[in-house]
Amino acid sequence: MALNIEDIKRIAHLARIEINEQEAASTLTKLSGILGLIEQMQAVNTEGIVPMSHSQDLAQRLREDVVTEVNQRETFQAIAPMTEHGLYLVPKVIE
């Protein structure tokens, strides 16, 4: 699968990473190299093989539906880029 510069810009937008023309061009070269490496997979017949997501193939554990976290709003907001009256501030999203 050969990528082009428009693909790179589209992927970067999906990933929410701003990218300029120059970066897109160098990214295209490097990503194409990596995808070339990945392409080796396509030669393998994997029909009927169950995908493996974790080595131990465990079921997810369930826990009691109880509150385990205490309120640490001040601690957490102390490291936030921008807060006001205990709320996280972001640019206006509703007109």
């Binding site: 990933a15 490097k30 997979m41 995908p51 554990r61 957490f76």
Partner: protein, 499 residues
């Protein structure tokens, strides 16, 4: 107190010195801090130091020792990879994105060391978000290999590696997603263990590829790694993939090794794929010599095959970036981490904050991951990679029917020069050609010093022997490594000029 005996002592010896009041934890910790002040400006192994916090822990350890409540690691100073959240410590994961992040809580690994009374000397440098094999992607600069300052220490746990090799700590922690404990252990000449996936809790360990990430010890010897495993391993409900198993004593077999042939009956599998093209001839010789030593110790060797080995790297570079792109979507500049100074609207804030906060390699991996997970490509990439992952794991299952343990090289070469592969991601990825398969299979792997290789005109550089065990076979691997370390002295050697 002679400094060189202190820095080359095993954890057990340090513990005995503390118990016998030969030295206090405050004095021992201070000695390491002095060395850090002396060498760290050059080596750049540590990226966060907090003398006040460190010395408070040392004083508390002394009180605990005086009260008679000491555990084996109480009062001993360790280095912690900067991927572990440690309350009140700057925890950056080697990224500009988290350059001002002060962790509000402790990772499970950190709380385990705290509960054992260990002292935290500081946080160590690493490739950004653990993505790299040379420590060159760190926002805080590269790390020098203590054996040759022109060369890289390996990565991603490069700071911990250099700290262990240069004796800037008693031992250190690392994490290994594709080889990040073992490859630096090989390049810097010490012992590192990546446990079975699920043995050490990932809680508070900043996520890269969650189905592969695993923390482990980086130390001077197998014996030291065993003592650290006793503290690090164990069930933790806060990690959904933590395994609920009975506690083990990883040191239990170390003293049972006896006689001229302590490993009689042990079958060592040698995968032909690990000795094929791509392996440096000098490295191959050192590894073969180490295997010959194992035969002297009574082990027999069996030729085995891991036929899907060559697919490990392609599979890894689908799965790891896919998981990373998802994990790193949390860095949005809202709740913590870097936020751009200027932006037009919410979308622009996300785009600029992430463009500024992440380095080039991290962006590449996010983009690869985003691509392979994007609509229409999932089956061809992610699903296909997960299917081949099973084939790779099955290769090991078959191999372990013929042998008890697998050996081979850890890395294809000795430490390479800084800058040599920095602009060629594919060449860099090949550093992990022998280590990635164990992460994909979830198996434990370790690297032990096996000797040195010298290419013409270069300094002698360490070579690691990789030992791969079956699931939960860490205790046996440590015994096998220990048997070798009882009859060889590669693991006791340290770089010249740092005494």
């Amino acid at each position: 107190m002679i400094n060189s005996s202190l820095i080359n002592s095993s954890l057990t010896q340090l513990s005995q010195m503390l118990a016998s009041k030969q030295i206090s934890s405050v004095e021992m910790t201070q000695s390491f801090l002095v060395r850090i002040q002396q060498y760290n400006p050059t080596i750049n192994a540590y990226i966060a130091l907090d003398e006040e916090k460190t010395m408070a822990q040392a004083a508390a350890a002394d009180a605990r020792i005086a009260a008679g409540n000491a555990e084996p690691l109480t009062g001993i100073p360790f280095a912690q990879k900067d991927i572990f959240c440690a309350k009140g410590w700057k925890t950056t994961c080697g990224s500009k994105m988290l350059a001002n992040f002060v962790a509000p809580y402790d990772a499970h690994v950190i709380s385990q060391f705290d509960a054992a009374g260990a002292v935290n000397l500081g946080k160590t440098n690493m490739d950004e978000f653990a993505m790299g094999s040379s420590n060159e992607t760190s926002y805080f600069g590269g790390v020098k290999n203590p054996w040759d300052f022109d060369r890289v220490p390996g990565g991603s746990s490069g700071g911990s590696a250099a700290a262990v090799a240069a004796r800037l700590c008693a031992a250190a922690t690392g994490t290994d997603t594709g080889g990040s404990i073992r490859q630096p252990a090989s390049l810097c000449g010490f012992t590192g263990l990546k446990p079975t996936y699920g043995l050490v809790s990932r809680y508070g360990m900043i996520a890269f590829a969650s189905s592969l990430d695993q923390a482990g010890p980086m130390a001077k010897s197998a014996e030291d790694c065993a003592l650290m495993m006793n503290v690090m391993a164990g069930f933790d409900a806060r990690d959904s993939t933590s395994l609920d198993r009975p506690k083990e004593d990883y040191t239990r077999g170390l003293n049972a090794l006896s006689g001229d042939q302590p490993l009689k009956g042990l079958r060592i599998g040698l995968p032909k794929e690990y000795f094929a093209e791509g392996l440096d001839a000098n490295v191959a010789k050192v590894v073969q010599d180490a295997i010959a030593e194992y035969r002297k110790l009574g082990a027999e060797t069996v030729d085995i095959s891991l036929p899907n080995s060559q697919l490990s790297i392609p599979v890894y570079y689908v799965l790891a970036p896919a998981e990373a792109s998802s994990n790193l979507s949390r860095y949005d500049g809202v709740r913590y981490g870097h936020r751009a100074a200027e932006y037009d609207d919410l979308m622009d804030m996300y785009m600029k904050s992430r463009a500024e906060g992440f380095g080039a390699e991290v962006k590449r991996r996010i983009l690869i991951g985003t691509y392979v997970l994007s609509a229409g490509y999932y089956d061809a990439y992610y699903l296909k990679a997960q299917q081949i992952r099973r084939l790779i794991a099955q290769d090991f299952t078959e191999a372990f029917k013929q042998c008890d343990i697998i050996m081979g090289p850890t890395a294809p070469s000795t430490a390479f020069k800084a800058g040599e592969k920095a602009d060629d991601p594919v060449a860099m990825y090949l550093q992990d050609v022998y280590t990635i398969a164990t992460n994909l299979a979830g198996l434990p792997g370790m690297s032990i010093p096996a000797g040195f290789a010298t290419n013409s005109g270069d300094k002698a550089l360490p070579v690691g022997l990789q030992i791969i065990g079956n699931y939960f076979d860490e205790a046996r691997m440590l015994d096998v490594a220990h048997a070798y370390q009882l009859t060889t002295d590669w693991h006791t050697q340290m770089p010249a000029g740092l005494e």
